[in-house]
Amino acid sequence: MTRWARIILFTSTLLVPSLDAWGELRFPPPEFESGYQFPQTTTPAARPVVYEYIDAAVLLAALSLATYLILKRRSRRAVYVLMISALLYFGFWRDGCICPIGAIQNVTLTIFDSSYAIPITAGIFFALPLVFTLFVGRTFCGAVCPLGAIQDAVLIHPVAVPGWLESGLRLGAYTYLGAAVLFAAIGNAFVICRYDPFVGFFRLTGNWNVLIIGASLLLIGLFIGRPYCRFLCPYGVLLRHASRLSRWRVTITPNECIQCRLCEGVCPFGAIREPTGDWPRGEYKIAKRRLALFLLLLPVLVVAAGWGGYTLKERLARVHPRVRTAERVYLEETGKVEGTTDASNAFRATGRTSEELYQEATAIRERFALGGALLGGFLGLVAGGKLVTLSVRRRRTDYEADRASCFACGRCYQYCPKERERWKQGKEAVAGR
């Protein structure tokens, strides 16, 4: 049997249980009048505002505690306990809402829509982790974020992702951030919330497609540490850059690196950077020319990607429900589709003319022209900027946690002999007292 025949046989055998997937749904009509009475629509009472302030207070306390545990106490165990507590509170108890990641959209909408007033808690949730990160690094990611916590909790067999691959994959988070800001600003859509992969687990219900995405991320997360945080999280992008400026941060060793290499490769998130070696002979001149080339390429990339985003304005605008409704109504009215949808029926019930709807949709598309250009330009800038930074050689003499990538989980502490020495001294000091 040839190799291809084996492959086809193997695949076909696996697909046998899926044969019924291609069946048609043919139901006989019900044989009786159901007499079903639609229940009256009820709206649950709004959550008391006081709980929102409690949430903000809990966030502040958790961030403060995380900072203490990570930077002062340097205890992975305590950080883990705090992380699970945050997962239970912000994840399962508060149903994953509100979170700083989604708050990006609230802040964006506040900037672009004067009729929208951001809830104060959303503002606090957006700003607090950023402020903490500016001073002490990504302690929010390591110990407070429920999305990070659920992935961290399932990481059982870490597999290292090559550093070069991570550089490419990280572009996903920038794309997500750019798209989320654009759609929140113009598209009237909160895509971060709609496609939050873990909220379905927190609420124990949710959209089937999103649950599949979440389950897939968790399955991948068994081996690849925090895939969402590293390659998709839009808030992580902001925290990465804020963390670069942080005054204090995680250090693998409590005092002096002895170059023992014991911490090499222990970070499941690939955030430990090794000391740099010398330039290979002749490389310096090539590197200079490369850097100059990428610096020249940067504006070209920005303009080209911006133009690309501009040309997609009509397609991008379809994320806006008004544009989708207008397109549907137009297709119905020109006889290009049969039947109506709930959205087109609801529009007609408003009594407005379709001309008004088309004009509104056209205006939204025009806003997406600028938005698409900005999104494209942003992505071009990110990609070009990465090519530039990857062409710059930095000097490192010690093993250290990367300021941007380190989640401040505290895993690396236990691998450092100097840290162990510190624990030992601490225990002896306690015993001697």
Partner: protein
């Protein structure tokens, strides 16, 4: 510092091998999970489903034995719902899981294949670079990865660009919202052309053709659905409608080559349970001719559905006026006045208050004005005429000829002078409104009065003719009437004095048209009798189309458009 060392490389120390191996392992786990889920789902569908259905069937049998057992009925409903939900859920799940399984298998096969190949490679001594060189290579690969990610983004953008979007084609609303009176006179915007008079603005109309040999036929195009309405022409567009019991459509043909430019469906509403669409075969499902104001085109159907479209085939609005109570099927055509669509909606026997005249705003379809009428169902088409600089909307229905102000719907005058089931429409000729009482008489009314003018403004009555379908035509000096049996009668406009009558000996449904000094009479066989205008009958030509015709001809610059039972014909000389 650089000091290359030679050492043997094991597979496990190769990060690429580890990556593909682990990828294959993860894909294998996914494959196993989705396969297991699909098997469980299949077992559920094959075992639990039929078991529940058998139980449901047994319970239904039991319900037949115990129809009063409400508890059992409730159980049947619950189980039925459960089965339906279960089927939908399982099918949905199976489809999604199959795609996931396929994806996992592809990854497994690709990664497994690569891992297998790499493992089969014999370990070989390799140059071990120093730290600096390794970091340089790492940076190089990272740059390539960024370029790769950018390429993926570009690819994604291309995929998005390939997805469709809808261009909102704007209606030709630039300038005034309707065509000027002069523009209207140059076109054929409604049933029987400008003012419903049947008079062409052009004299260069063909007088010789033969549909059987294609002589003089510029093109002919099949009309998708049947209809007895007549073509309407606006510049290079020809509009008409067609319908069957289930579909109502409006068509736009390209006048240059007969290509069907667009087709638009007109929806309807479900009929009430106690009503049915009662339409005579002779009337058909699309008897009413469409009308255009030069910016939009409007259509009405016997179901009471009226709709407006722009010239690109975009439906701007649709209304259902309620199923008309009409003994043969509603057949009045539309008229326009400026941007108003004028609808004579006569129904019932005239005593139930059902009849009304409706004016809709052509841009939005909203009701501009509405006037109650005490007339029974009629089949005439209203006309808007100019009387001493004022527009008058003239309607004919037993027993009145009524004139309204077309802008406001205010009644101007009425004359009680017609009876019967009126189908021929009125014309304005020689300063008179010429109306017809079928099988009885032709009546001329002076349109200069106010209020009830029955006793004061009826100029003459001529009782030698009374067509039941075809509308009259007049050049301003003579009036021509054509009975459905083919009897043509000519009389003076001034006093109604009969000048001659001639039996064409053919059944006729189309109303006559006047071009220059000639009268065009189309019989049902599709033969056009061209007769010289004058006090005596003189036939100058007879042209055959070769297809049965019910619709009236439409005249344009150098062309005649004829609708047969199946085809639309353009007769004229090639440019």
């Amino acid at each position: 510092m650089t000091q290359a060392t030679e050492q043997t490389r094991s597979h496990d120390s190769d990060v690429r091998y580890r990556t593909v191996r682990n990828t294959a392992a993860v894909a294998a786990v996914f494959t196993a999970i989705f396969t297991a889920l699909l098997v469980i789902n299949l077992i559920g569908s094959g075992v639990v489903g039929p078991w529940r259905e058998n139980r449901l069937a047994a319970m239904k049998l039991q319900v037949q034995k115990e129809p009063a057992n409400q508890e059992l009925v409730a159980q049947v409903r619950q189980l039925d719902l459960k089965i339906r939900r279960d089927r939908i859920w399982r099918l949905d799940f199976a489809r999604k899981a199959t795609f996931m399984l396929l994806g996992s298998v592809v990854v497994l096969l690709v990664a497994g294949g690569i891992a297998g190949k790499m493992k089969n490679e014999l370990p070989r001594p390799q140059h071990q670079p120093d730290v600096g060189e390794m970091q340089m290579n790492e940076a190089k690969r990272a740059r390539l990865a960024v370029v790769g990610a950018l390429a993926v983004l570009v690819l994604g953008g291309l995929l998005v660009a390939m997805s469709g979007w809808v261009r909102f084609v704007q209606a030709e609303d630039s300038g005034p919202a309707f065509a000027t009176a002069e523009e209207m006179r140059q076109q054929w915007p409604r049933f029987r052309g400008p003012g419903g008079a049947g008079i062409s603005a052009y004299a260069n109309i063909p007088t010789q053709w033969n549909g059987k040999t294609d002589e003089g036929i510029l093109w002919k195009s099949k009309v998708p659905l049947p209809g007895r309405n007549s073509p309407v022409v606006w510049k290079d567009r020809i509009f008409l409608s067609g319908a069957d019991p289930n579909n109502r459509q409006v068509y736009c043909f390209d006048a240059t080559n007969g290509q069907l430019l667009w087709t638009c469906d007109v929806p309807t509403v479900p009929l009430p349970k106690d009503k049915e669409l009662n339409i005579m075969e002779d009337t058909g499902y699309a008897p009413s001719t469409v009308a255009t104001d030069g910016r939009r085109v409007y259509a009405i159907f016997p179901t009471g559905d009226v709709a407006g479209f722009d010239f690109h085939g975009r439906r701007l609005w649709h209304k259902n006026l309620g199923l008309p109570d009409n003994s043969y099927g509603y057949a009045s055509s539309l008229e326009t006045h400026e941007k108003l669509v004028l609808i004579q909606y006569d129904q019932g026997d005239g005593t139930e208050g059902k009849s009304r005249f409706i004016a809709l705003d052509g841009q939005s379809g909203k009701v501009a004005w509405e006037a109650k009428r005490e007339t029974p169902n009629s089949w005439t088409t209203p006309i808007v005429v100019d009387v001493a600089g004022q527009s008058q909307l003239i309607t004919v229905a037993k027993p009145f000829v009524i004139a309204y102000n077309p802008a406001t719907g205010a009644e101007l005058w009425r004359a009680e002078c017609v009876g019967g089931d009126v189908a021929p429409s009125a014309i304005h000729a020689g300063g008179l409104i010429i109306a017809i009482e079928p099988y009885s008489q032709v009546v001329a009314v002076k349109p200069t009065g106010q209020g009830n003018v029955t006793k004061t403004h009826v100029a003459w009555r001529m009782e030698d003719s009374g067509p039941d379908i075809c509308s009259p035509a007049s050049d301003g000096k003579y009036v021509y009437t054509l009975e459905s049996g083919g009897l043509l009668l000519c009389c003076n406009v001034e006093d109604g004095k009969k000048l001659y009558e001639m039996d064409l000996k053919e059944e006729c449904r189309a109303s006559p048209g006047i071009v220059g000094g000639k009268l065009y009479l189309l019989d049902m066989k599709g033969i056009m009798h061209i007769v010289q205008i004058g006090p005596e009958y003189r036939e100058t030509a007879k042209c055959e189309l070769g297809e049965e015709c019910f619709a009236s001809p439409a005249f344009a610059d150098g062309r005649i458009y004829l609708r047969g039972t199946e085809y639309l014909y353009c007769i004229g000389k090639a440019p």
